[in-house]
Each structure stands twice: as C-alpha cells, then as structure tokens.
C-alpha cells in the first residue's frame, strides 16, 4: 500500500497552499489528490479579477492566482494525482481513491488535510415551487459553462440570491450579451461582498431587490418566466407584491455548502452552523492528525484568507508529523463561544500551549451591524473592544488572539466573542 506523511484531499487553493506550507516545513512525503484534470480548483473558472490583493498586493484573475500556487507546488516537487476521486477515508487515515490508470487503490497517511471545498445549494434544497424545466442553473454551473466551455446558458436571466458567484455571473452574462433582468435577494441585505454589488450590478444598471424571492417557476420544458414577490420579516411572500418576469434562465446563488461527506464518513465532528468540521487552534479535527482548511471548513469570501488558513493547516500538520508521539499531552483547553450576533468561530477550541504567538479567529455575523463593537471576553472579563463601521453576514470577520495574553489567564475556560452596540 502507498504511504505518505501527509495526504491532502483537494488541489484547489486550500490544498495547494497547505501542501506548499507543509513542504516548506520540511515534510518530504506529501501527496495531493485532485478529482479534476488540473490543479487550481474552482479558481480556474473564476476568470474575473480581484484575487490576491491581500496575499500578493496586486489584482489577479482566479487562474493567475491559482498559477502562483501551482508553480510553487511544482518548484517544491510536491507529488499530486489528477483525475483522482477519493472514495473513502477511514478513521485510521487509510484513503481509498480511484482513477482510470490505477483503478481503485489505497494510501496510508500519517496526517490528512481535508481541502475538498464546497458545493452550491441547489434549487431543490430551497423548495421553490413551480415546474422543473431546463434553464435553472446554479451560478457556478453557469460560470463553468460560460468560462470553461464557451457556451451561453441563457439570454434573459433572473438571478436568485446575491452571493458573490451570482453577482459575478450577473456581470459575466451581461458581457456575453445576455440581459440580466433582476437579482432578487431573500434577505434584507446582500450575501455578497459590497465591492461585487458595485462592480457587477451597479456599474451595469442591474437592479437588486432585497427582501424578494422567487415564488414560482413557469415553463414545462425551458424556463419561460419566474414570479418574484417581496417577503416580510419572516421571509414569507407578501400577497399582492407578486411580479411575473419573463426570462429563459434562472441562476441560483443561494449559498454554499462545505463538502464534508468524506469527513463525516471518517467520524469527524461537525459544526452545524458552518456544516464544516469542528477544529482547534491547529485546525485539527477531533480525529487526531486530520486537519481541515478552506471552504470545506467554513465558506470564505476571499481566497486570500483561504490560502492563509491553509498555510496554517499545512504547518500544523507538519508539526504533527515531526512531533509524532512526542506531541505534548493536551493541556487544558479553552472553548470559544459565539454569542450576541456572532454565528460561529473557527477555531472552536484552543490549547494554549500549542497555539502560535498570534492566532487568527474567523467568524461571521448574523445580521448587518453599523458602528458596533466586536467584544472579546476571557470568561467574564471583557479584554478587547474593536469598533467596526459595518459588519455584514456576507463579509467574514476576524480577530487576533495573542498567546501571551491567554497565558496571563491560567484558569481561562471560555473566550466569548460577541457584537455589542455603541457606547465607549
């Protein structure tokens, strides 16, 4: 049976950065398993620019951003297998994979980094009433058809959901000659980045209707139109606000779901809010030596943060390999609690002795907050209040925790992060 120190499942931005980082930490035996025919993952179809502002201080397209990491992986001589599907991972970290050359085969890994990314929420999961004709695409599927295959999925388009891919596709379809009639968003705020609303909708005069949803799909064979209605504060359609919009295409950008079927199969504990694994300061799951990073852990909005997080996972996996059995017994562990508008935190647990000098804690808020504070409590003591002009569910937030600071509280049990309103 093949055997590697670290096997990385997924060759997208997370997997690439994790692999490079692990190798830079001196681990020679690293393997990336990728199901597509190239490395780079979803970045390959994201041909718009705006990637890399944080990492490289320049604006790159998705393929360019991916290429930087692919080049690095090649320079470092990291092994990878393409067109290879991971079928199963056992709790003992035995990986069963398959491709057309080798058939079904197994690999034993000392450490596994989960970097499978996410998938789009489909129409069915929303229970949108109506017919089930051709012409309903998730935004990412349409993006692949347009950008990778060169096909136009539709000419008159309504987009449900204002997630980033939907916004990007509104602009993309317009540039390809389609008419995007409307973007409808169920929530009273957009699910995407502010910059995408400006650059992809406002600049092209595409209307965004907040608190609106699609309540019916017309057309037995191909979409003929959709009925859009305003919703109340309970997200229920308001009678009398229905509007029929003729179109041949409905794009859905209604959320991303981490792809954790393999993780569940190997007994990794899940966080219901993110649908990603519960991890500690090392981005390690409850299964020892199994790490997670990128969109499989929680859905990010900027790839730069994926790379950063993945590099940390790679480094931690390398340390796990180096220390092996010598790794310090887990000392007391601090739990992170998300409260008062904070929906979750990654990580969820911190072993102070194992944390880096500075640890990034990422989270999302559940509503739009203006002029509010991110407050950090060590047990009942508020240790930090950071003002943010605006926070929104579409934009991931982060705070940094200092190891030194945690060590000042030897009996610390719980760190709470919550949003608090005004007042100094």
């Amino acid at each position: 049976m093949l055997s590697y120190d670290i096997v990385i499942v997924g060759g997208g931005p997370a997997g690439l950065a994790a692999a490079a980082s692990a190798r830079e930490q001196g681990i020679e035996s690293v393997l990336i398993l990728e199901r597509d025919h190239t490395l780079g993952g979803i970045l390959n179809q994201c041909i718009h620019n705006g990637f890399g502002l944080h990492t490289f201080k320049e604006e790159l397209t998705g393929p360019e951003y991916a290429a930087r990491f692919i080049d690095r992986v090649n320079e470092l001589g990291i092994e990878y297998k393409l067109n290879t599907m991971v079928m199963d991972i056992s709790s003992e970290k035995c990986i069963t994979a398959m491709n057309r050359e080798e058939g079904l085969f197994q690999i034993r890994a000392k450490a596994v980094i989960l970097a499978m990314g996410c998938r789009e929420r489909p129409r069915g999961a929303l229970n949108i009433p109506g017919y089930r004709p051709a012409g309903i695409f998730s935004a990412g599927t349409a993006q692949r058809l347009v950008n990778m295959e060169g096909y136009l999925p539709g000419r008159e388009v309504v987009i449900l959901g204002s997630g980033d891919i939907g916004l990007i596709m509104a602009r993309r379809m317009t540039l390809e000659g389609a008419k995007v009639k409307l973007v409808a968003e169920l929530m009273p705020y957009s699910g995407g980045l502010k910059r995408n609303i400006v650059q992809c909708l406002d600049d092209f005069g595409i209307p965004l209707k907040l608190s609106h949803t699609v309540i019916d799909i017309d057309g037995k064979e191909r979409v003929k139109g959709v009925t859009v209605a305003q919703v109340d504060e309970h997200r229920k359609p308001i009678p009398g606000t229905e509007e029929y919009i003729s179109c041949d295409t409905l794009l859905l950008s209604v959320g991303l779901i981490p792809e954790n079927e393999l993780s569940r199969g190997m007994g990794v504990d899940m966080e219901p809010v993110t649908s990603g694994p519960v991890v500690n300061e090392s981005l390690e799951t409850n299964v020892e030596g199994v790490f997670a990073c990128g969109n499989v852990l929680h859905v990010h909005d900027l790839v730069d943060y994926v790379s950063e997080e993945a590099a940390a996972a790679g480094k931690n996996a390398a340390r796990y390999i180096r220390e092996g059995a010598k790794r310090a017994e887990q000392a007391g562990c601090v739990e992170l609690a998300a409260e008062g508008g904070v929906r979750y935190t990654v990580p969820k647990y911190i072993h102070t002795d194992r944390m880096e000098e500075k640890l990034t804690v990422r989270f999302r808020v559940g509503d739009v907050y203006k002029g509010c504070y991110i407050c950090t409590y060590f047990d009942d003591t508020c240790v930090k209040r950071q003002k943010r002009p605006v926070m929104a569910p579409g934009e991931m937030e982060e705070i940094k925790l200092q190891k030194q600071k945690l060590e000042e509280y030897p009996d610390l049990k719980k760190i709470t992060i919550r949003i608090e309103k005004g007042g100094e």
Binding site: R35, R100, R222
Partner: protein, 478 residues
C-alpha cells in the same frame, strides 16, 4: 402494418410490451416524450403496495395482489431494484382503531398475506422515529419499495431486445378505425395496426374517446413530493402511511431503494394534464402532515421536490381490456395507485388478451432475462480494477454525489432504448440525482452525451422537446 401498437411508454405500456414480446408479434410503442418513463411512472411514491387498500372485487385489488406477488421474481428476472421492506398504516386516535381493523379485513378479503395489527409498544420498537402519538398500526410485511425508473427501463429494454420497436417524440393526434384495424395519425406520420393498446396515462381518456362511444374521463390528480438526501434514508425502515382518506392513501414517509427518504404525495385535482408543478401550499401541507406519522424528519436534508399526476378515472377503478365498441382496441386506462405494483400483472394479462384475439404464436427466441447497467460500486476491489483495466472510463467519477463513473453513463447511452438527455442519463444511472442536483456533473455529462451521440451541444436537452440546456455560444449575438 403492425400487429400491435402500444400508446404510451410508461411502466404499464412497457410491461405490456415486454409480455407481448413472448409472442411472435410486430409491435411498436409510441411515446410522445423523448424517453420511456416520462410521465406518471417517473413521479410517484415508488411503492409496491401489499394490497389492502383497494375495495374487494375491484380490478385495483385483483391486479395489486397479483403484481405484488410477482414483483420479487420480476425484479430478479429483469434486474431492477426492489426491496420488500414492509409497510405500516399508523393510527393515532382511539376512535380510529376500527378503521385499522377495516383495512385489515379488506386485506384478508383481497388475499394479502401475513398482515398483523400491532400495538403501541411493538410499533415504536419497530420504528423508533414514529410520532409519539401513534397507538397502533397495520403491519404488512409483503409491501415493498421499487425503483420506478429502473423497473420501467428494465421492461422497455427487455421488450426492445425481444423485438418490440420504440418510437419517441411521437404524439398521437387521431385514431381512425378501418376494415382491418386502425390508422394512427401522429406527429411523426401514420401507423397502421391490427390492434391498439391504450396505455397513455393521463391522456388515456382522450385516446380511448377517439375510437369508442363509451366515453372515459380522467382527472389528473396531482401529488407533490419531497426527496431527502441519503443522510436521512434510514429515518424509517418501512413505508409509513397514515389512515387512508377520501383522496387516496395519504401522505407517506418511506425509504427509497437508493437510500433516500421520500415524503408525499398530496392530492389535488387539476385541469391541465401537464401541470406537474409543485405548489407552495402543497409543500407546506405535506411537511406538516408527515409530522403526524413520523417525528424529527430532517427537513433540511430535502434535495428536491417534484409533482406527479395520477390518472384518476371517474369509475375509480382501472379500465382494462378490449373496448366494448372497438374490436382489438385494448385499454389500460385509469392506472393510478396501485398502478406501479399492478404493472407486472397487467402486462401479463393484457398480453394474453391480445394473444387470444390476434392468435399470435409463441416467440421461441424470447429472452426472459435482462441484466441492468453494471454497478461497479457493487464489485469487490479486484473485480472493479479488472473492469477499469478493460474500460478505463469506469475509473473516472463524473457524479461525485452518487459516485457514478463515465463508464456507467456511456453504458446508459448505448443500451437498447438508451438515454439521449440529461434526465435520461439520470434515470438510468442516478448521475445528477444526488445532493448537488447535477450542479457539478451536468456539464461533464453533456460532454459525454455530445461525444457518444454525435449531437451538437446546442441540441442537447434536459428531457427532450424544447428543454435545451444551452442557448448558444459566447457572444454569438455580437
């Protein structure tokens, strides 16, 4: 000149076609859609009913029992998924207990075997997720679940192998009686035949009324369903029904043979015979009702909702056999539940009727067995690797949710009565039927269809007709 033309390639038409192929016959199945299994047969509860619902003496009762008894053997002969998982009709009110007894008595009269009425303790032990209020249940171990696509396709493929022709995208506009039989006018020309079998589902009244003075009237009775992901598939092991009501057997909760959980159907009479749209109020009703029989259903795991139309005839029974005023015109009309269960029995009976009337000789070359599309996942590792060495496409996964390989999709396209659309591939292989609902695999499946069928991408459809998936190439209007 055909001996027999069968109108409709649903499960009934395909079962009749297959049974008819036991005889030497020149026969053809006409279907208005692009594939078999495109109407009621693709959107139903996928249940093989035990047979206690129908009133004794009705054709529904008779054919249900016969079909139920045949199902296991047929599923082996034709290699389609069937599991005898048993069913429970649950009762939540003291005062309704007599109704349970009534169903039991009816089942006994109909000839259902091994039924039992079981009490609170036993039923909750059997199904721990039943709603707390369930007091008792009628347990019928002979009930089962079946793959309705797999079953219809199996019948069609076996019929085709045994010489029955299939014509798709062929809609019947008129039927004219002539001296020696019938002339059928369709969107794809005329067909002359000695005999006709009317298995046209919700349109069977229209077809019947073209030749017969004794009019039929079919009401499409829509039923909405929700399908949940595999993660919910073990929520119940048996099919759980409420006590039946005026409009049928009520909203059930059942596992599927593929490990999903199905909820439904509702029942609404509609005018339009194409009205397969799901309605919000029906979904709301459905999701409320299922909670009365089964608790803690993980509704968040819903991956799709869909609607089917039952072909409800005014007589409230199957209309089977030769029309009184139209010689050699055989109806299989009003086939609503338990139509799927009854199909094997209807097929056999109808073929016998036709054989008697046309005096068809036995087909000595009839091949009774059919092997389904190879499922590499069921092979041990060595066998699977041997297969991949022979045909590497079995090593490339296209549908990552259901783990379906390129090889299986190619098989689905090249089978007798093969797939020609995304939905055709989906019904034969399950590619695209999983939790992402074809988001990832549809572009790749399209490439395979394009390559294997030699069709341009622009012509590929989701399910035939105008259901084209792309509308052009980039910047083609510039």
């Amino acid at each position: 000149m055909y001996d027999v033309v069968i109108i409709g390639a649903g499960v009934t038409g395909c079962a009749i076609a297959r049974e008819l192929s036991r005889y030497q016959v020149k026969a053809c199945v006409l279907e208005k859609c692009e594939d078999v299994c495109c109407g009621t047969s693709k959107a139903n509860s996928a249940i093989a009913h035990a047979g206690f619902d129908a009133l004794p003496g009705t054709k529904k009762a008779l054919f249900n029992i016969r079909g139920s008894e045949m199902m296991e053997a047929v599923s082996k002969e034709l290699d389609f998924p069937f599991v005898k998982n048993g069913s429970l009709v649950v009762c939540r009110k003291e005062k309704d207990l007599p109704k349970l007894q009534e169903l039991y008595d009816r089942g006994i009269q109909n000839g259902v075997k091994d039924m039992r009425i079981i009490g609170r303790e036993e039923v909750h032990e059997m199904e721990p997720n039943l709603a707390d209020g369930v007091l008792a249940a009628l347990y019928a171990p002979t009930a089962g679940i079946v793959c309705p696509f797999g079953m219809t396709i199996a019948y069609a493929e076996n019929a085709a192998v045994n010489g029955i022709e299939f014509r798709f995208d062929t809609e019947v506009n008129a039927v004219r009686k002539e001296e020696e039989g019938y002339v059928i006018h369709t969107t794809r020309g005329e067909f002359r035949t000695r005999a006709i079998v009317n298995a046209a589902g919700v349109y069977a009244d229209a077809i019947h009324n073209m030749v017969s003075g004794e009019k039929l009237h079919i009401t499409p009775r829509r039923g909405d369903y929700c399908l949940l992901d595999h993660t919910a598939g073990e929520h119940v092991a048996r099919t759980v029904f409420p006590l039946p009501g005026e409009y049928g057997k009520g909203v059930l909760v059942a596992p599927t043979v593929h490990g999903n959980l199905i909820l439904g159907p509702t029942a609404v009479d509609v005018e339009n015979k194409e009205e397969t749209c799901v309605r919000q109020e029906e979904l709301d009703y459905l999701l409320d009702k299922v909670g009365h029989s089964v608790k803690n259903i993980p509704i968040r795991q819903v991956i799709t909702s869909f609607a089917g139309l039952r072909a409800h005839e005014d007589s409230d029974d199957f209309v089977l056999g030769e029309a009184k005023d139209a010689r050699n015109f055989f109806d299989a009309a009003g086939i609503e539940s338990p139509g799927l269960t009854s199909a094997p029995a209807i097929g056999v009976w109808m073929a016998e009727q036709i054989q008697e009337s046309l005096q068809l000789p036995v087909n000595p070359e009839f091949i009774p067995n059919r092997k389904g599309i190879l499922n590499p996942a069921e092979l041990p590792m060595e066998k699977r690797n041997e297969l991949i060495r022979q045909k590497p496409e079995y090593g490339t996964i296209i549908c990552r949710c259901e783990m379906i390989s390129e090889g299986e999709i190619m098989d689905a396209i090249h089978r007798p009565v093969g797939a020609r659309s995304l939905d055709g591939v989906k019904r034969r292989t399950r590619a695209g039927m999983g939790r992402c609902q074809s988001g990832f695999c549809s572009p790749r499946t399209m490439e395979i269809l394009e390559r294997e069928l030699g069709l341009p991408m622009e012509e590929l459809t989701k399910s035939g007709g105008e259901s084209k998936i792309i509308v052009g190439i980039n910047k083609d209007r510039w």
